[in-house]
């Protein structure tokens, strides 16, 4: 929302704040000013002048030398290259030491251009005559300005030499841009903002006086209105204007419209736009002679109807779209755009002003379905005050008379189901003080209300809310009004008292912090990926067609296919990130991510999915499969998980190397997986190097973690006994199987098992491998004796035998 400061000042005559003061004060009282532009920021010493004489320049045939009267009795000599300069013209002259905003080519430097007297091709020039561009504006706003040349005032404008040219052009003004919050529908209007400004600066608010208009005829003799859907159209007012004379609007109106960013068209169009800005109430004008049966019917469209809007576009309708119709046909999309069949043309003789109130939600949804959002629909969709419509249409008719653009017919047709009741809110000053933490007197609070047109009923101790303040509903809302005008900055700052609470992280978050620490110690940096991805990721990961991971939460309105499903597996993001790094030639990249996957409980989704936090870590470059395994185990240890994780390759992961992958189990539960990325998957992600990725399913791990009950177990005091065990076994037998047996049979006294050699080659024979372990035995409470070791070793040797493993000599 943009408005002219002069327009605001017209209704708050006492307002004298500078643009910056206005910006700050309005922002602090709740009408946020995003920025402002002062048209005269870089305009200085510019007066109206009259060209008395023109002579050719002695040294340049494109320049002329003018004598210009600037009203002080001593005409200036000014050299100009303007092709349109002519004797007797009234022009804008910037004198020596003055300033203009821009140059001919539309350059507008921050501080404008300073103009100094000087010589032009050897002839003295005491100033400059300005084009509209040099004055910081353009032909959109001043269509009468020449395309190339200086701006010339018309004789009718009544200006005379010596007048302030900036004033004459209406450029002593500032345009403010506001961010109006969606609850303050009333502030999407000049009057609404002016009311806030008056309250903020404690100056009187003087809205325009709207005189009675209309001849002795009755509008109801011209037109009838039938609202068939009062829910969607709570109020419809029609007024009639005849003997229309289309012409330009006066300068003051054009200026205000320009400041609001609206291009002036003609008096009739300008009046509807002007009232829309001033009252926040959109209006529509129909050509009376095009309304069949002189009857307006407000009803829903029929499904499948096609309607041509005044921009010439056919629009497909449905039965939720409200239409304005005549006795035969549809003539407008209610509140959105008029129809081509009833639009005002230059030949219009009589017209109907529609000033209505439509259901905001319906307009918003219709405009969305039609893909057609207009200034009008933008206002209606916020939900307008039906009381405002009458004032607005009367204002429009008064302007019609004032501008002499037609004869207003007396009376109006007003179909108004039911005027809204004024809400009442209980006024409890103590409650407000308790709520805000302030200590304001009742009188102080009450003093804020009248400028906002909130009426206080002292007998009933209630505040009556005007209908245009639809946002005020409860005492907290009143408290906000008090706080706004007392000043948020004046409210004290205190800290909550009351029962103390313990600040803490959740246990889950603490375990995640352990994970972050371990991963970072191990050289992995934290990445972040989006939660949504493309279903194509599943193909890249080579997931079978019936994989449950292809059952995803799907977004109805995604930004595109690449963001259309909520990921069911975290590998895609990791692979993309690794590929990004690899293709940017970053070496030895290690990344981790802690983020959710989303597993639907059923498809289509009917309840919230299972959100599972995944610790995903991957790398390329130095390291291998076992590097990842070490990191996983480091995390387990740090998270207080004492048992040994087990690893099994059952070949289930199509995105991993078939011979280099495993499922990680802890205490029998599957807690994650890791592997070397399958070359085909890597290639699909444009990652042309070996990469390794592990995924730990945090919800599965969480129950096994122990951060809070770690206990010191003592440091071994008795000597250890070491036994080396060298064996030959089938190559296909996993060492994990051997170790599991060692631990089972080693009992309490087996302290550690260290695999120190694996050998495959001629000496052990084809299909075999030699494996050597160092076993360390120790008891916590005594020195082990030979017979303890022998007993355990015998069990172990038996175990080896059962596995078909021979001892090596």
């Amino acid at each position: 929302m943009n408005t002219s400061y002069n327009w605001i000042k017209a209704y708050v005559p006492g307002l004298t704040a500078t643009a910056q003061e206005y910006t700050d004060a309005m922002t602090l009282s709740g009408t946020k000013v995003e920025g402002f532009t002062s048209y005269d920021r870089n305009l200085k010493s510019i007066v109206v002048g009259r060209i008395l004489e023109l002579e050719p320049h002695p040294n340049a045939n494109k320049l002329v030398v003018c004598r210009v009267d600037i009203g002080n009795g001593s005409p200036l000599q000014i050299v100009t290259g303007a092709p349109n300069a002519a004797k007797d013209q009234l022009v804008a002259v910037v004198t020596d030491g003055g300033k203009v905003a821009g140059d001919h080519s539309g350059n507008y430097p921050e501080d404008g251009f300073e103009i100094k007297a000087g010589a032009l091709r050897g002839v003295e020039s005491a100033g400059m005559m300005c084009s509209i561009e040099e004055l910081g504006s353009d032909r959109n706003f001043y269509p009468e300005a020449p395309e190339n040349g200086i701006y010339v005032f018309s004789e009718e404008s009544g200006v005379k030499p010596g007048d302030d040219a900036i004033e004459a052009l209406g450029l002593h003004d500032t345009v403010f841009e506001y961010e109006i919050t969606s609850n303050r529908v009333d502030c999407y209007s000049v009057l609404g903002i002016a009311r806030e400004a008056a309250a903020t600066f404690r100056k009187p608010f003087v809205p325009p006086v709207v005189p009675e208009t209309g001849n002795s005829e009755q509008a109801s003799d011209y037109i009838s209105v039938d609202v068939q859907d009062p829910a969607l159209c709570p109020r419809y007012i029609a007024r009639v204007v005849k003997n229309i004379k289309i012409g330009p609007s006066p300068e003051w109106m054009k200026r205000r419209l320009r400041a609001s960013g609206i291009r002036p068209i003609n008096n009739l169009v300008d009046i509807t736009n002007y009232v829309m800005e001033e009252f926040g109430q959109p209006m529509h004008a129909f050509d009376y002679d095009q309304i069949a049966g002189h009857k307006i019917i407000v009803r829903r469209a029929a499904d499948g109807d096609v309607f041509e809007t005044l921009d010439g576009q056919p629009r497909k309708l449905d039965s939720n779209i409200l239409m304005i119709c005549d006795a035969e046909k549809e003539i407008a999309l209610a509140g959105i755009m008029g129809g081509n069949n009833s639009k005002i043309t230059d030949d219009v003789r009589t017209m109907v002003f529609e000033c209505a109130c439509f259901d905001g939600t319906n307009i918003r949804l219709s405009s969305k379905r039609l893909g057609l959002r207009t200034d009008s629909s933008g206002k209606f969709e916020k939900g307008l005050d039906p009381e405002n419509a009458e004032a607005a249409v009367n204002r429009a008719c008064a302007l019609v008379e004032e501008l002499g653009c037609g004869e207003v017919v007396g009376g109006k047709v007003d179909v108004y189901a039911k005027a809204p009741e004024k809400k009442e809110i209980a006024f409890r000053p103590d409650w407000i003080n308790d709520f805000l933490g302030t200590d304001l007197s009742e009188e102080t609070m009450l003093s804020y209300f009248p400028p906002l047109e909130l009426e206080y009923d002292a007998d009933r101790r209630v505040v009556k809310i005007p209908t245009f303040r639809q946002d005020l509903e409860c005492e907290a809302d009143l408290a906000e009004e008090v706080a706004r005008f007392f000043g948020y900055d004046n409210v004290p700052t205190t800290l909550p008292t009351g029962e103390a609470t313990a600040g803490k992280l959740s246990y889950k978050a603490r375990v995640e912090n352990v994970a972050r620490d371990v991963l970072e110690y191990c050289g992995f940096s934290q990445g972040m990926n989006y939660s949504f991805e493309s279903p194509k990721v599943w193909d890249k990961l080579r997931l079978p067609a019936d994989s449950p991971l292809r059952q995803a939460v799907t977004i109805l309105n995604p930004l595109g296919e690449d963001y259309s499903i909520m990921r069911t597996i975290s590998l895609g993001g990791m692979l993309s990130s690794l590929a990004t790094n690899y293709n940017r030639r970053n070496k030895n990249v290690r990344l981790y991510e802690l983020a959710n996957i989303y597993l639907p409980k059923a498809v289509p989704v009917t309840e919230l999915p299972d959100e599972r936090m995944q610790l995903t870590f991957g790398f390329y470059g130095e390291g291998d499969f076992f590097t990842l395994k070490a990191v996983a185990e480091e995390f387990f240890r740090k998270a207080g998980m004492k048992a040994r994780a087990e690893y099994e390759n059952d070949g289930r992961f199509p995105f991993f190397h078939p011979g280099r992958q495993d499922v990680i189990r802890y205490d029998g539960e599957t807690v994650g997986y890791l592997g070397e990325v399958h070359p085909k998957t890597a290639e699909a992600f444009d990652l042309n190097t070996r990469a390794y990725i592990a995924v730990l399913d945090m919800p599965a791990i969480l129950p096994f973690t122990n951060l809070d009950n770690k206990k010191y177990e003592g440091i071994a005091r008795f000597p250890a006994v070491t036994r080396d065990l060298s064996m030959v076994m089938d190559k296909s037998l996993n060492v994990g199987t051997v170790e599991k047996m060692l631990w089972q049979r080693g009992g309490k006294i087996l302290e550690s098992v260290e695999l120190f050699d694996v050998y495959e080659g001629e000496q052990v024979g084809a299909g075999k491998k030699s494996v050597a372990y160092k076993l360390v035995f120790r008891a916590k409470d005594r020195t082990l004796e030979e017979k303890d070791i022998t007993g355990v070793m015998n069990k172990i040797l038996n175990g080896l035998g059962q596995l078909g493993i021979e001892l090596r000599a």
Binding site: L28, V491, T501, K504, Q526, N529, S531, N581, V605
Partner: protein, 339 residues
């Protein structure tokens, strides 16, 4: 005898004096004090000394032995000292050669900023909680006083899963979930991922993070909200940080405000970061709307509360002066390693 001992002593001391290595010293020790050493031989010859002379001769032998032993120790120490000096000398390195780096990973800047923020609020007695990222429309909108067809629903550009389920557009639904479960006093912050259908560019992302805060208790005031957030700002951005509260509108708070902090780069003088204003918008906040309290089963006549929402990325970008939000989700190692 005495002569002989004297000779042994002089000879031994002379040889020790000349000894240059531990080996040489050891050889000398064996030559005199060893089992077959000269002094040992002398002792063996004690049998031939007359019994009355034995104490005297014994004394001479012991004196000699002591003299040799002392010298041995002295020379040994000197040789060791010299050897150590030589080793240290030989081991001199060029200390200006490059460091051997251990590759240590880096936390994401978002996480670093979040942890700082969590530290501040934990210190003030807030519990850090979480809520689902895919959320019921009820919690994301309706229970926050944003009824069906409310324009605010459009403003937030929601991703829908179906009519009832959305990707949460804000962390505010966690407020409702907490209030439904927990009796006041409530002091929580709820960080997490939120989603809005904004195209990716330097300042927008369809997925980002918010931190929701909620305090509900008896007698909580707007002044408490101001004081709490002012303290947060000082601890987060520096003790000299000033705050400014501007009225705003959120459907689930009343009164509502936006909080600006004095620019932590220029200190409020005005710079590029604060676009010359000296202030930076940091968060939205307000008193929990009585309707929201009531819908969550808390009696607004008995309790009141305040809530706030902070955009994490905004803090991260400002704190580290990162000029393009996309960098946060690209995971380029050269970016991540800077934090």
């Amino acid at each position: 005898m005495q002569e002989k001992l004297k000779k042994i002593r002089e000879e031994a001391l002379a040889r020790l004096e000349a000894a240059a290595s531990s080996d040489a010293i050891n050889e000398i020790r064996l030559a005199y004090l060893g089992k077959k050493g000269e002094l040992t031989e002398v002792l063996k010859g004690m049998r031939e000394v007359a019994p009355e002379d034995r104490p005297k001769v014994g004394g001479w032998v012991n004196d000699t032995r002591k003299a040799i032993e002392d010298k041995l120790a002295e020379v040994q120490a000197a040789v060791q000292e010299k050897a150590l000096e030589a080793r240290l000398e030989a081991e001199t390195i060029d200390v200006t050669m490059p460091a051997k780096t251990a590759q240590i990973g880096h936390r994401h800047p978002n996480t670093i900023a979040l942890e700082e923020l969590e530290r501040v609020f934990i210190g003030m007695g807030y519990e850090v909680v979480e809520g689902p990222e895919i959320e019921y429309d009820y919690y994301n909108f309706e229970a926050l006083n944003i009824p069906a067809n409310h324009p605010a629903k459009d403003e937030q550009d929601t991703f829908y899963v179906n009519k009832e389920i959305v990707l949460r557009t804000q962390t505010s639904p966690v407020q409702v979930r907490v209030m439904e479960k927990q009796k006041p006093p409530i002091r929580i912050i709820a960080p997490g991922r939120v989603f809005r259908s904004d195209e990716v560019d330097a300042t927008h992302s369809p997925s980002f993070h918010q931190i929701e805060g909620l305090v509900v208790d008896k007698g909580i005031t707007f002044a408490d909200l101001k004081g709490t957030l002012a303290q947060f700002a000082r601890e987060m951005f520096g003790q000299e940080t000033k705050v400014k509260f501007r009225p705003h509108h959120f459907p689930f708070t009343e009164p509502s405000a936006e909080m600006d902090v004095s620019c932590f780069k220029c200190g409020g003088k005005g710079c590029r970061m604060c676009k010359g204003s000296g202030w930076i918008e940091i968060l939205g906040c307000g008193m929990v709307h009585p309707k929201v309290l009531r819908m969550s089963g808390i009696d607004p006549e008995e309790y009141s509360g305040f809530a706030f929402g902070i955009g994490l990325e905004r803090i991260t970008l400002l704190k580290y002066e990162i000029d393009d939000m996309r960098l946060l989700y690209e995971n380029d190692d050269r970016f991540l390693k800077q934090f």
